[in-house]
């Protein structure tokens, strides 16, 4: 009878041996990063939609301006494409905790991001329009401004991780953060390429 009075003890699911760090899509921050890329991707998409919507409201496009000059945009295109190599290196070697490769990858990525930011500053000087000229000019400036915000944010994040990689704190989940940082850099590159296509190519070829 005593055993009947005693409540049944629940069974257990022991998770003590599960790993404490996950890379790739299993990582929760990876998922949040995907959500934030969706949010910011939506903003780019809406700005592109704004650009083409306004284009339907104008007889000439660009209206009374030369299209933005190629040179710094093209230089940045090359910088963005080359920067994919260190970004991928850091991402690839992060799970193994290869600090040397991570430092090289993050340092090179930071250098490319600084170069891209410098080129971007010059890019503003050859757009052949000022934001307050008309709606076309406003859209071009805001599009590049939106992308520049992402570029600078990503540069700061990469620099912080680079500094961290020279401290004992670069371990465990921070290594996963290095890999996620590269994902975000890919997003900055892809949105930059799309923006270049809209600003430079569609004004000339479409």
């Amino acid at each position: 009878m005593d055993s009947l009075r005693e409540p049944i003890r629940p069974l257990t699911l022991d998770v003590s041996n599960l790993p404490s760090v996950a890379f790739g899509e299993l990582n929760t921050t990876w998922l949040a990063n995907v959500f934030y890329m969706a949010i910011e991707g939506m903003m780019f998409a809406l700005m592109f939609a704004t650009y083409f919507y306004l284009r339907t409201r104008s007889q000439h496009w660009p209206p009374g301006h030369l299209p933005p000059a190629f040179k710094y945009g093209l230089a940045n295109l090359v910088v963005f494409l080359l920067s994919l190599i260190p970004a991928r290196l850091a991402q690839k070697r992060a799970p193994a905790g290869d600090l040397r490769a991570i430092r090289i990858g993050l340092a090179a990525l930071s250098a490319f991001a600084i170069l891209a930011t410098v080129f971007r500053i010059f890019e503003f000087t050859v757009l052949n329009c000022r934001w307050s000229d008309d709606a076309y000019a406003s859209t071009v400036w805001v599009l590049i401004g939106l992308h520049s915000g992402h570029l600078v944010t990503e540069l700061i994040e990469t620099l912080v991780l680079l500094v961290m990689s020279f401290t004992p704190k670069m371990e465990g989940t921070r290594l996963a953060d290095v890999a996620i940082n590269s994902d975000y850099w890919y997003f900055v590159v892809i949105s930059g390429l799309l923006m270049d296509f809209v600003i430079y190519a569609t004004t000339r070829f479409l």
Partner: protein
Amino acid sequence: MPVTEPIIEKDRQAHRLTPDPELPRRLERTWRQPGGIWGWFSNTDHKAIGVRFMVTAFIFFLLGGILAALIRLQLMRPENSFLGPDAYNQIFTMHGSTMIFLFAVPMMFQGFGVYIVPLMCGARNIAFPRLNALSYYLYLGGGLLLWIGLLTNTGPDVGWFAYVTLSGPGYSPGHRADIWAQMITFTEVSALGVAVCIATTILRHRAPGMTLNRMPILLWEKLVISIMVIFAMPAVMVASSLLLLDRLVGTHFFNPAEGGDVLLYQHLFWFFGHPEVYIIFLPGASIISTLVPCFCRRRILGYTPIVVSVIATGFIGFGVWVHHMFATGLPQLSESFFTAASLMIVIPTGVQFFLWMGTIWHSRLQLRLPMLWVFGYFFVFLIGGLSGVMLASVPLDTQVHDTYFIVAHFHYVLIGGALFPMFAGLYFWFPKITGRMANETLGKWHFWLFFIGFNITFFTMHFLGLRGMPRRVYTYSPDMHWQTLSAVASSGVFLMTAGVLVFMVNIFRSRMMGEVVGNNPWGDASLEWGTTSPPPSYNFLHPPTVNGRDALWDALPDQPVVVGLRDDIRETLVTHSLDTEPQHKDEDPGPSIWPFLASLTISATFVGSIFTPWAIPVGAPPVIITLIGWLWPRGHSPAPLPGIESWIH
């Protein structure tokens, strides 16, 4: 041992839980939040932040309600001089903006979601609790900005959607429209942050066994709403940011003289604005889908069709925005398309309605207080839904556009779809939040006063609209013969106000001296009722596992619990998004003052940018410093024990 592996009988005894009387004390020491003022601003417990969202949103509801009462007092009789046109414009703009941006979404999505979702998942805290805390402070900052604006005679006066050209630089000098636009930035950054936290919690922190096809409908709806927020809210941020740029630095997005376009603003706004209606309505529906089976004492009828309907609503909700723009002279083909889409979205809502009715039919219905509000919802929301079907038709919409018929329609939809489920939900989860039951008699007084008052006010407005009374006019001539109906509409406000006062008395009284209840006073099935009322700082002594759609009803007598999470650090369990197989352990980052400090620097930058564009470059370094302070790891390393860390790639 993974939960999906069958446990062989002879191993059962070895896998039974060994009681540990010291465990609650150790968990409490690890998970408790710091005290004092500094601690209050460092708190990252989802329950505390959820309650703050609810209390703050309710205060804004009261403020918005006071504005509504002022509007009705002004319109009570013709040529009334109680409010002048300028004050009236500010008041109706503030009423709409407050109710939508500071009350409806923060209460229905953020408040309920942040409090309930982690408990319903069986998790110890929300994912990214610091982001969650930041979201609260930014929301509060947006609310304060708007209301300090009103109190300093800088209240926005351009309607809750701030259409250009009225809100543009040419017609709205000063900073009234800027305050509206920047309030949008605050509240939407907040909603986006919470959406990321809630979606990640649902996809990664569900209890083992709570596979996707066993997930409570409320969690399905919160997931769909989070994804809708992620894709809809950027549109209003783009719209309000472009408006600010037009006003402050001379861009021309909405200036037709320089190649801009006025309708572009409306497209951007309503591409957010209509999904927003479902972002407000779906949380209400999720409460109904939770309460109906509980009070009918049976499983919900048609779980799968309801889930499919919710997902369908999420998709179709993005394809109906132009029905807000039928009077703008768009091509007939697009009007026809959006009429069809607007009619189509009735189908998934209708499916849910019929399945709720089917669940109630022949059930052992317990008409307790929360269920009374559910029936109120059925009545009110049905009327709003039916007038919505009428308005999907272009000729009728054009006829009643900008009249009180529209005002009646959207109050039936929004108060029916959000406020009635909100009161149902507040009464339902009150015992979980406080450990005490709300008073049923006072609750019934609240219901009947509010229900009757609401219908007196808003049903009358249908007739006012059909007789041609336009919205947003501060007064009218006696020759229009609207005074009787207007006076009737205004009289309902007294009953609604009395109802809300009774509710507040009930909540304060029940909080102090309500009947103390156990873990599960309603006998509900979902996991939040499986822990104490109110839940401890760590939510569950042993994180639960799930054996069916109705977790507590389907639990075995010896339903397994999760063991092996460390109690000296804030370890949490991460499971697979689909089958909830345990994947790895994560660590909750714990309380921190940095989200609050970051909210201060971000708020200063946002507010400063209303006055000068230099606020952005000047404000950026402090923002960056506070964010680095927040994210820089401190204390022990992420997983110092045991020995060699094990990682999964």
